[in-house]
Point group: C2
Chain length 643, copies 2
């Protein structure tokens, strides 16, 4: 192995079952996302109006390799008379594969009650299947399903393949089956590389359910779940595997999503995963020492300094209300853009751009968050990384003398702008010298986080976007029962003290010193009111929330009312002193503390009919959450508050 | 117990957590559905803007009893110093309960790592809690959660309660925890009735997952899942339980649905369940012999004869296309309504009403199924039953001399009309004497089934509606991967040979001789294209599908094209003879056979841009399914067919 020859290129592949739409759409989407090949899931072929020859031509036209035809099921370890019927079926499918131009078939370990617990029988029958394959120039990859009747892990499937000793028979490794069961990875390097026929990759959230159901509904792309796929991939590659990295994902959401969007998401996950394999700790056995880097991703930002600004769309008829709200919060208008109807509002490091020139605001809201600026040391690497990750750049009109910002379109249409150190973007604003009738005592410090309400179909994609592009690290997700249904809330954080996260490390417990935080909220089921009336949050950090609350209250802003029951429960549970409790009650401040006694306090400012809630938060350094315990109260208050 | 005194009335109750919306909406919905009381889920109170006193008044105004305040968690079997803190919390909650007017608190078995496996300690601490309760005139019901750290079934929780020996302490039985774990019911009658403090009822689909997750997301109302709740309830009532029947349901769909609709659904489930308890086999122990009937439901239809008609809305500009389609299928126009723009089309027992006077058709379709007529011996009992089940009647304009049909609104807005033996509804049509240019050789026999595509939120309600009102029996549901996402397909059948089903019996395997069949199709996730472009089916039974296909083909109708790949797979799997295969291929006939070799064949006729597919089916007597194996092919063909 020549380490100096640069990254090894593994072909990228995706199973058609991972994508929604018709077979034609699936193939076109895979090609458009830059995949080198596909696994063809048999039901997709059966349901397609294309003949096998037409599929072959379509693949060739699209530049796609047919990596795998799948799956053959319940074939091996059966009584001889049953096997004869199975062999006829397999032979017919091998004939079909030749017409398709497929080279390899996937054969899953038998799950039926008919299966006999006899490795020699299984090996003998698999060898007979492999004979049929070899006669046609095909190969067969044997996969241990986690719920296989007798063969349910790769150690066992390799044992059977070894006994069969057939050149056309090897094994398929599927990360889901191995990681879901927690099978040791140590046996992988014991398998000769030329017997590692194909590697299927899938991540999954950590769920406690039957493996079959978990596998069939909840798999997701690498980086979207809880498995350590970086170490897994490193181990497999260290064993000498040279075939494609193939995504085999069964996911209810992907099935109903736009296949072109899903395919890009999948491709992004493989690019990210290769980088993780490079970064993972070397394997504790095997030839891992001679690691040849596999990543083809530019490194991206070296750090994230924090939020440069949050930009709101505010149609002209709403700017007055928004302006009053910002003023009441203690922000001041410090600049007016020289060529666009955009104002800059500031308080300390909290900066809000108010744009009255766009018209992208949904009809039922009055204003919405459309862009976020992030401070970075150098923006160009991020732009390069974004392009490699197939992130669409944001077209941006500007005058010749105005700052050029790198802009990226995040899932849901929000724009992320990268603002370099010394970037002249603030120079595009003429300074204002407005007078304010009150003193600035609001103690605001900066933007704490931005929360986006998104449709369910964008959940996985959003997590991977922020993780792969900005190096943010997902925290444990929360489920919150709102009056409109159950909401899944996923926070991602990075930058600052957690700067190491930019290398993609797993954040076991967030440090609390992160400088960039996003929260993605989706309904756990699609449809419903939560999806049709999304609410975004802009959370501004205060270094004295009571002081801020007093100032805001003095300005006559409307604070989201918090039920008295909430404070009675707080008193019963936590034993706060009566004076604090009374203060919190007066100003509608919600309170949470973590197991280490670190405190999080927050209150919300409402704007009638607005799709944006402004939130003031105050966190003890190290508190890593977002007051999830208070979310139900907040959501119910939103429902019952006057609008 | 006085058997002759007529049905025992148990109060009906529902937990606020079972309903979406705000607390105010939940309470109003429970009252509107006729519940006698509610369980108050603590987070619903905490998030509500109502004071405890206001909640108490609201309950009184609505005529609702507060049956239970829930839940107290992780209280018992802890180290003494921890318990002192717990007891202070519990005392505060008991004070709150007094203000609410609650009488009983639910205390769940400890699930925390802090819990000590010591029944005596648990009993001692529970007795101390019960002391606090008793001092305030309250009681405490101890519930074994299936995932409790040490106490996880009712036999054990009863053992602890027995040891505590406190008059204010009893147990809560929750059907989910007992039936999910398959705990024997035999111990229930061993518990003195005065210690059976509260009965919580929930059904659930049979899933293989962690009980916590199963319980928190997938519970449903009795009759919507797979548990035998009739026998369970009979057992508990036979043990002498005299308290409320209380629905405690955690369900993601209900959480995002209209609470008023969900509450009616829940109330319907309890009425149905009481009837099932009456009908269940007597308990094998305990005082079951002295059974006092509890049902308050009128018996309903004595039988269902079959489909009287299917009514389609067809705006005037679409009737020509529909007419050509019906003619091509071999139906003839036999009547024109005397006072409405409705035509009657017939072929043997298959009758279609074409209504060009309504305008309820969704904009993106050309026509839709809006009503179904069912033949019954006598309609009045069904109307009485429907009213008892809170089913809205359908207002129907008619002239004084026209037939009066009992009409019921099914979930999704479809109208179900009950057509009595000898009902004069056909007399409202003037006979037609149209000439047809071809002979009627289509061999049509009648309506086989009607399939409705519905939003996810109506799934459970639909199942219970057809089950409770018409006595149809749900078959095992199927999941089908369509190009637009995963679809759950639930068939319900009854009438005919399965007439016994009207008593509500469980249909283990359908007999295949049912005369009324409906299929409910919903996307497994809400939102998405499957929900926004619903497709209904009207399936007409043929007694010779090949003959029908020839006739339809000769009429130039467009048959849904079936991919050649489908027939190649059929040949490989089933070894059909070449001639049959060729015939099926020519006419686009799909083929399925069950394990007993019984055959189901079907083909679809398409109408451009229509929301209705006409399907011709031919089933060997006894074949009970709907060709689920072919559904993917059909759905993909729908997507790729020219429109």
């Amino acid at each position: 192995m020549n380490v100096a020859s640069g990254p090894r290129r593994h072909r990228h592949s995706i199973a058609t079952v991972a994508l929604g739409g018709t077979l034609g759409e699936k193939l076109a989407a895979a090609a458009a996302a830059g995949f080198d090949g596909v696994e063809l899931f048999e039901p997709d072929l059966i349901a397609a109006p294309l003949t096998p020859e037409e599929v072959r031509r379509r693949l060739a036209d699209l530049g796609l390799v047919l990596e795998l035809y799948q799956p053959l099921r319940d074939i091996e370890a059966v009584p001889p008379e049953v096997f004869q019927r199975k062999l006829r079926l397999v032979s017919a499918k091998f004939d079909l594969m030749q017409r398709l131009g497929a080279r390899m078939a996937l054969l899953c370990s038998n799950v039926s009650a008919q299966a006999i617990d006899d490795d020699d029988l299984a090996a003998e029958q698999l060898a007979a299947v492999a004979d049929e394959a070899q006669r046609r120039g095909l190969t067969v990859a044997y996969e241990a399903l986690a719920w296989g009747a007798h063969v349910s892990d790769y150690v066992h499937s390799w044992e059977v393949v070894k006994r069969a000793g057939h050149p056309a028979l090897g094994i398929c490794l599927d990360s889901f089956h191995i990681l879901a069961r927690g099978t040791s990875l140590a046996g992988i390097t014991a398998i000769p590389p030329d017997k590692l026929f194909i590697l299927q990759l899938a991540d999954a959230p950590r769920l406690r359910m039957d493996e079959l159901q978990w596998s069939r509904h909840y798999r997701c792309f690498p980086g979207q779940g809880a498995f350590d796929l970086g170490s897994f991939l490193r181990r497999v590659l260290a064993a000498g595997y040279a075939g494609p990295l193939s995504l085999e994902i069964f996911n209810d959401i992907f099935r109903q999503a736009d296949p072109f969007r899903t395919a890009v998401d999948g491709r992004r996950s493989l690019l990210w995963l290769e980088e993780r394999a490079d970064a993972s700790a070397p394997s504790d056995s095997g030839p891992g020492a001679a690691w040849a880097p596999v990543s083809r991703l530019p490194a991206g930002a070296s750090d994230l300094r924090g939020f440069a600004f949050v930009e709101l769309d505010a149609p002209p008829e709403t700017t007055k209300g928004l302006t009053r709200l910002l003023t009441g919060l203690g922000l001041r208008r410090t600049g007016v853009h020289r060529s666009k109807p955009v104002e800059l509002w500031e308080a300390s490091e909290a900066r809000i751009l108010v744009n009255s020139g766009r018209r992208s605001v949904p009809a039922h809201t009055r204003f919405s968050v459309t862009a976020v600026g992030l401070d970075v040391a150098v923006a160009t690497p991020v732009a390069r990384r974004a392009a490699a990750l197939r992130t669409p750049p944001v077209p941006r009109h500007r005058n010749w003398d105005e700052a050029d910002l790198v802009g990226l379109e995040a899932p849901g249409g929000v724009e992320i702008f990268l603002c370099e150190d010394g970037s002249p973007w603030r120079g595009d604003f003429d300074p204002c010298t407005d007078e304010y009738p009150f003193s600035a005592t609001a103690r605001l410090a900066g933007i704490d986080h931005v929360a986006f309400a998104q449709p369910l179909t964008l959940f996985n994609e959003s997590v991977l976007f922020y993780r792969s592009l900005l190096g943010l690290v997902p925290l444990e997700s929360q489920e919150v029962a709102s009056p409109n249904g159950l909401i899944r809330s996923q926070a991602l954080a990075g930058g600052g003290l957690a700067g190491g996260a930019l290398a993609g490390g797993a954040l076991v417990g967030a440090a609390g010193g992160e400088t960039v935080r996003f929260v993605i909220n989706v309904p756990v089921l699609g449809g419903g009111r939560a999806e049709s009336h999304p609410v975004q949050h802009v959370a501004i950090r205060s270094d004295d929330i009571v002081e801020t609350a007093r100032a805001v209250s003095a300005q006559g802003l409307s604070v989201l009312p918090v039920p008295g029951n909430y404070y009675e429960d707080l008193a019963a549970r936590l034993g706060l002193d009566a004076a604090s409790l009374e203060t919190y009650r007066r100003y509608g401040i919600l309170y949470d503390e973590d197991s280490a006694g670190r405190v999080f306090r927050q209150f919300y400012v409402t704007a009638p009919q607005s799709g944006v809630l402004f939130e003031i938060v105050d966190r003890t350094p190290g508190y890593a959450g977002y007051g999830a315990a208070n979310a139900l109260v907040r959501m119910a208050a939103q429902e019952t508050a006057p609008r």
